[in-house]
Amino acid sequence: MSDEKTIKLTEVEETLLEKIQHNFPIVEKPFDELGSQLGISGQEVIKILQKLKSEGIIRLIGGVFDPRKLGFKGTLVGLKVDNAHIENVVERINKCHGVSHNYLRDHEYNLWFTLIMPTKEEIDAFIDDLRKEEGVISLVELPAKRIFKIDVRFKVKE
């Protein structure tokens, strides 16, 4: 699927990755706290995190906000785009700061992206423009009606 190669992790790295996805300690010295849970020092925790970041395994450590609570609007968009124009359409989509995820998928509707913007009007305007883009054969917009689950945590250990 992807061209990225899998990186082997040590046991301490794996345990740390599992902990910091969901149980990051919100205390004055979080790395010391993690270290004491793992039997290593806070400085060693920081060193491991720096390494995992440089390898690209950790993208970011920070807060994940709920766009709805911030008053933002979100939607999912699927497009059927002809192959000759796909690069231009992708460029057009990726330029938009409200697009956080965009995937080429194995389906007649081949481009799928999520869009988050401050207002519904901005979403509508962006989508209307996109429909007119050369190569866009069809477009479906699928706003969420109900969220049953969001729980992004990846099992690192076997």
Partner: protein
């Protein structure tokens, strides 16, 4: 979604959101470093995070990892065609599965009749097919499509209230 979901935010909330959504500094007291940028105390930052987690403003605080780099590189979206009357029950059943990270009900149209969307993450296509089959058996729905990702064209975190955000 619903208008009432929106929380009332003051200027300090917005400034904190702008800082907390970025990568935290890897120093002994990261929240102290963040608090100094806003001229507030370390304690205030910590209690703001805890309040935000409680109110749901912040879904979680922690690491976002690149699952593709640790071998979890098969990430299909499964779209389910489910009769209106069964959506709630099916959504709840699908959501209970640990392999499912996201489960949403979405608007349908004649052109696109699928009502529930689940994201699953695994290490091979055969594993994905097996999980999809298991989910299908659990809800007794056979009308579904697996949309495998061929390529990640963009993946980034949302930067709310950033000036570039236009």
């Amino acid at each position: 979604m619903h208008q009432e979901d929106k929380l009332k935010l003051d200027n300090l909330d917005v400034e904190l959101i702008k800082l907390m959504q970025e990568d935290m500094p890897l120093v002994e007291r990261p929240f102290l470093e963040i608090s100094e940028k806003l001229n507030i105390s370390e304690k205030e930052v910590i209690s703001w995070i805890n309040r935000s987690l409680k109110s749901g403003l912040m879904r979680r605080f922690g690491a976002r990892i690149s699952h593709r780099k640790i071998g979890i590189d098969v990430n299909p979206m499964i779209a389910w065609k489910i009769p209106e009357s069964n959506i709630e029950e099916c959504g709840n059943i699908l959501a209970k599965n640990p392999e499912v990270t996201h489960c949403y009900e979405r608007a349908t149209s004649e052109e696109w009749p699928y009502s529930i969307y689940t994201m699953i993450h695994c290490k091979s296509k055969s594993e994905a097919d097996r999980i999809a089959k298991s989910l299908s058996d659990q809800i007794n729905i056979t009308d579904y499509i697996l949309l495998y990702s061929i390529r990640e064209l963009k993946k980034t975190h949302m930067a709310y209230f950033a000036e570039k955000n236009k």
